[in-house]
């Protein structure tokens, strides 16, 4: 791979300067490469990370039909990757004006990678460097253990969509510790709210009483405050102590659990497998945020490439070219979802609403429709506001919070339904709903969402690993269960059980408009010696 030439690099540096002035924040160093068809052939299976570990599946055409993005939560054709320095890839014959557009797009992505909190765990190291050393570890092990390394990679990858990404994030994104004692926090945050479920006015009374104590007793406030508590809730101390114990064991995901508790992996001759598993887990963690911020990330980049391109003095005369290219990327399709188009429009919408100050209590208290329509506080805070959005939200929160009826109406969005017309033997597309509730639900349904599978150490008898799939209205893909469990059994060294839900029967809807009724059954899969059995529970 070759770096872009000096002329193009200079254009890039000019773009950086303008982007920084506009408020984007990113590390100054970046690497831009020209990619050829041949490079892509090697890069795309490795998700554009040149140093990713080798694995035979990368050489095989992976079947796309079934839940493609559910299985591979990262895009094989990304232009820019989240490394330090950030690396991006270009066609070698892009005209300058197009490069300007792409550079702005790329810089906004880099800004997003380096400022969105969902990427927090990728900020402190360079993934390509890490991946290179991992690749060497695996290559060395492969020279010693041969194909067994690939089996371990395969079996671990079978669980790599269940990595505890949010658990890891939550450890990194802790709010700064308060100066108050744990006991006090527990009392107000957990005990009163979750255990006792006191009414709000009682809760406020307790706060007032605490403030009184502060004023009266100063330093020794806690003692005096809790003497009253002990009288009122004698059980408080016991519950608090119990909570301390529970807190101490943090949640770990399936791969970690196997690494820590598997007897099979604990054997001397199998120790090496743990490092392979760690590599797979780390790699998976790195890719997790990408797919959870697709709409935001592309929307953000599209928003900025439009804004910055139009302000750029260097490409005067290419406005029409730009308009064509830009529209190609960001026009809303008649049917279908385009993350560029949708994300960009949401950002513009939020900016406008925030500019008018409509995200304020003042506006929310306003009940008069006409006044709401005309409300404009001229805050000028819109841009600051979207910078905060790009820092703190993921696709789910973004869509769930900001897609409202006004947005849907303004962009003439609708949920497109598809039904079979048996007479004509065609699928008909029709406008199913223009209500925001339906539109939002449809959007949220398309978002990446891996199943949540927990380990239940209590239910696992005789060293059996007992997994519980938390039911969220969807079954697991049945034909994948056997081999996935077989892999887990191999690494666990003893039988594995999985509790999940399956569809027993679907009865046609009673009324035309209703969804068909589905009967669910909780089932327990057991794999013992590579033999799978199933029973209802």
């Amino acid at each position: 791979m070759e770096l872009i030439d000096q002329h193009t690099k200079k254009i890039m540096e000019g773009c950086k300067e303008r982007a920084l002035n506009a408020g984007l924040r990113f590390q100054d160093e970046t690497l831009e490469y020209i990619v050829t068809n041949r490079d892509l052939l090697e890069l795309s299976p490795k998700l554009m990370i040149p140093t990713l570990y080798d694995y035979w599946v990368h050489e095989v055409e992976v079947l796309k039909e079934k839940g493609r993005y559910e299985l591979y939560p990262s895009n094989p054709y990304e232009t820019v990757i989240n490394t330090r320095p950030a690396i991006s890839f270009y066609n070698d014959n892009n005209p300058d004006w197009l490069n300007v557009l792409i550079f702005y797009h790329v810089l906004a992505h880099i800004d997003f990678f380096q400022n969105n909190m969902y990427f927090r765990h990728t900020w402190d190291y360079d993934f390509t460097g890490q991946a290179l050393s991992d690749k060497r570890v695996i290559a060395k092990l492969r020279s010693e253990k041969g194909r067994w390394v690939d089996y371990v990679i395969e079996f671990t990858r079978g669980m790599d969509n269940l990595v505890g990404y949010h658990e890891d994030l939550s450890r990194l994104n802790r709010p700064r510790a308060t100066n108050l004692s744990k006991r006090l926090d527990f009392y107000f945050d957990v005990f009163l709210q979750s255990v006792k479920k006191v009414k709000i006015n009682n809760y406020i009374k307790e706060i007032e009483r605490y403030n009184d104590c502060v004023n009266k007793d100063g330093e020794r406030v806690e003692k005096s405050f809790f003497s009253e508590v002990r009288r009122k809730y004698p059980e408080f101390n016991a519950i608090f102590k119990k909570s301390l114990k529970e807190k101490s064991e943090h949640k770990i995901d399936l791969i970690q659990y196997l690494i820590e508790h598997s007897d099979f992996l604990r054997k001397d001759e199998n120790e090496w497998m743990k490092s392979v598993m760690q590599v797979v887990r780390k790699t998976s963690l790195f890719f997790q945020p990408q797919i959870r911020t697709k709409i935001m990330n592309e929307g953000w980049a599209s928003y900025w490439h439009e804004k910055l391109f139009l302000q750029d003095d260097r490409i005067r005369g290419h406005e029409v070219d730009f308009a064509r290219a830009h529209a190609g990327v960001t026009s809303l399709p008649r049917v279908g979802l385009n993350p560029y188009a949708l994300g960009m429009r949401i950002f513009y919408y939020i900016e406008e609403i925030a500019d008018k100050g409509k995200y304020s209590i003042e506006f929310k208290r306003l009940l008069d429709a006409d006044k709401r329509e005309k409300f404009d506080a001229e805050t000028g805070q819109g841009q600051d506001f979207i910078f905060k959005i790009r820092e703190n939200l993921s696709d789910f929160l973004f869509v769930n919070t900001f897609v409202d009826q006004d947005f849907v109406t303004r962009n003439r969005l609708f949920v497109a339904g598809r039904r079979l017309n048996k007479a004509k033997m065609v699928w008909e597309f029709y406008v199913k709903s223009r209500k925001v509730e339906d539109y939002r639900k449809m959007l949220l349904d398309t978002l990446y969402h891996p199943p949540y599978i927990e380990i239940d150490p209590e239910k696992g008898k005789n060293n059996t690993l007992y997994l519980v799939h938390r039911f969220e209205g969807k079954p697991l893909v049945k034909e994948f269960i056997a081999n996935t469990m077989m892999g887990i059994e191999y690494l666990w060294g003893s039988p594995v059980q999985l509790e999940t839900s399956e569809v027993v029967s679907t009865s046609p809807p009673k009324e035309e408009t209703k969804e068909p009724e589905i009967k669910w059954q909780r089932v327990l899969y057991t794999i013992d010696n590579r033999k799978l059995s199933k029973k209802n529970i």
């Binding site: 095989v60 055409e61 497109a416 029709y430 893909v477």
Partner: protein, 461 residues
């Protein structure tokens, strides 16, 4: 409407029909389709109604390289793809030995080109299995939903997409779904892989004229003085001969080889020679039902299975196999190349016997029996206007007198069971009488590739 078809219908009607059969036949009768080859850009839109290509793209299908820079699917070359294929298959075999299920499928198959330049696309495929949510558990009629934008009242139809959009053309696997890493190879390579799995049955020695063009090279010719390999025994004999005539061998009971005189021309070498290789030859007839009822998966399955058989034949019999392609609806036609055979669109009614009769005619006319092993593979959805096989069975019986194997594949539609063809085949008793000569394989519409290969084994084992 085709008057011939109408006449046929009237005849059948006179013999009496059940309501269900009547409907089936009528639907084919009034089918206005033709057997054209698919156009480069199928124009299926009707005035006023927008036609959509299948909506499959989720938001995750978009990416910067293709959206922004227009860098699209890459084509890998023949050389790159060949290397890993053998390795991968080797690896897959090893998996089985290690007690894990195989993971590699050899998939997606042909890109027919005109004039016999078919390209078979061999793609090793696999899937990484994980616990993932299955969103396809709801009945398909409800279809998916997606986003949309623009005009239209709630409930208004804004466009349509043919249910069998890519398939009605008879285009099968490979067509239209060329993925980014498609690996191109020819039928030969596919055949190589398939060879492990099956072999032509009942191959007999027959006429050998075709073999004249085929040679093997072997070190069989002898040559004095120079050559590629010294034939030691022959050389020694020659030396002894020379020395006897020179009188250099006084005592036969006590030979001293060190005193031998050796002339350069005594050395006998072996050199490469061209040997004709005689092999039995085979003629394979492929019969495909391209009637209207074949629309959709049935055609894909039948065509795919025939591709597999064809590829394998090409490899195994190294072009020694001659293939003939016959398409039939109510009438049968022989077509020139695999491309036409593979791609012709479905339309019209069904008369299975027409194809059988054509095969019989060709065999008779060209006197193929004398020189060829004859195989017939027939693919259909099992629907036949000739409900009880009154015409088909006699033709089939005749065919069985000379053929080495007749393999019939029925790709059933989801809702039909015990199709006409299956029924009259069973009734005729041929399947049990001559299991060596005729085989039947019934596929469900949702059969996958391993199932197809299984089917081929059944047809030719």
């Amino acid at each position: 409407m085709d008057p011939k078809r109408l006449k046929l219908y009237d005849e059948i009607k006179k013999r009496g029909l059940t309501a269900e059969r009547d409907q089936k036949i009528l639907s084919e009768l009034y089918d206005e389709g033709t057997h054209d080859l698919p156009d480069a850009l199928p124009d299926i839109g009707r005035a006023g109604i927008e036609t959509f290509s299948p909506v499959s793209d989720s938001i995750y299908a978009y990416n910067d390289l293709s959206s922004l820079q227009g860098i699209t699917a890459l084509q890998s070359t023949y050389n790159i793809s060949l290397r890993p294929l053998d390795e991968l298959l080797e690896k897959d075999k090893q998996r089985e030995k290690d007690g894990f299920p195989r993971k590699i499928n050899v998939g997606r198959l042909i890109k027919p080109g005109k004039g016999g330049k078919d390209k078979v696309v061999v793609v090793p495929t696999t899937v990484e299995e994980k616990f993932i949510h299955d969103s396809a558990f709801r009945p398909p009629e409800e279809g998916g939903q997606s986003g949309g934008t623009g005009e239209g009242e709630e409930g208004e139809v804004i466009g349509e997409q043919p249910v069998r959009a890519p398939d009605a053309s008879g285009a099968g696997p490979g067509e239209g779904e060329s993925g980014p890493h498609e690996m191109e190879s020819n039928a030969y390579d596919l055949g190589k892989i398939l060879t492990e799995k099956f072999e032509l049955p009942n191959l007999k020695d027959k006429g050998k004229k075709r073999s004249l063009t085929r040679y093997t090279y072997d070190l069989t010719d002898k040559h004095r003085g120079f050559g590629q390999l010294l034939d030691k025994k022959a050389t020694l004999r020659k030396i002894v001969e020379t020395n006897i005539s020179l009188g250099n061998l006084p005592d036969i009971g006590n030979i001293d080889p060190t005193r031998f005189l050796v002339s350069p021309s005594d050395k006998v070498f072996r050199i490469l020679s061209r040997e004709m290789d005689y092999e039995s030859q085979a003629m394979v007839f492929f019969l495909r039902d391209y009637s209207g009822s074949m629309a959709g998966r049935s055609t894909v399955l039948v065509a795919t299975q025939h591709v597999l058989i064809y590829s394998w034949l090409v490899y195994q019999y190294a072009m020694q196999v001659e293939t003939r392609f016959i398409l039939h609806d109510t009438e049968a036609n022989e077509v020139q190349d695999f491309y036409t055979y593979y791609n012709s669109k479905v339309a019209g009614g069904t008369k299975v016997y027409s194809a059988y009769r054509l095969v019989n005619e060709i065999v008779e006319r060209e006197n193929l029996v004398q020189d060829y092993n004859i195989y017939v593979f027939h693919g259909t959805d099992g629907d036949d206007w000739d409900t009880d096989g009154k015409e088909a069975i006699p033709e089939l019986k005749k065919m069985l007198t000379y053929s080495n194997r007749v393999g019939i594949t029925i790709a059933e539609h989801a809702l039909s069971h015990d199709t006409e063809v299956q029924k009259y085949l069973k009734a005729s008793g041929l399947l049990t009488e001559k299991p060596d000569l005729i085989r039947l394989d019934v596929l469900q519409e949702d059969a996958d590739e391993p199932r197809l290969i299984e089917g081929i084994k059944k047809l030719i084992s």
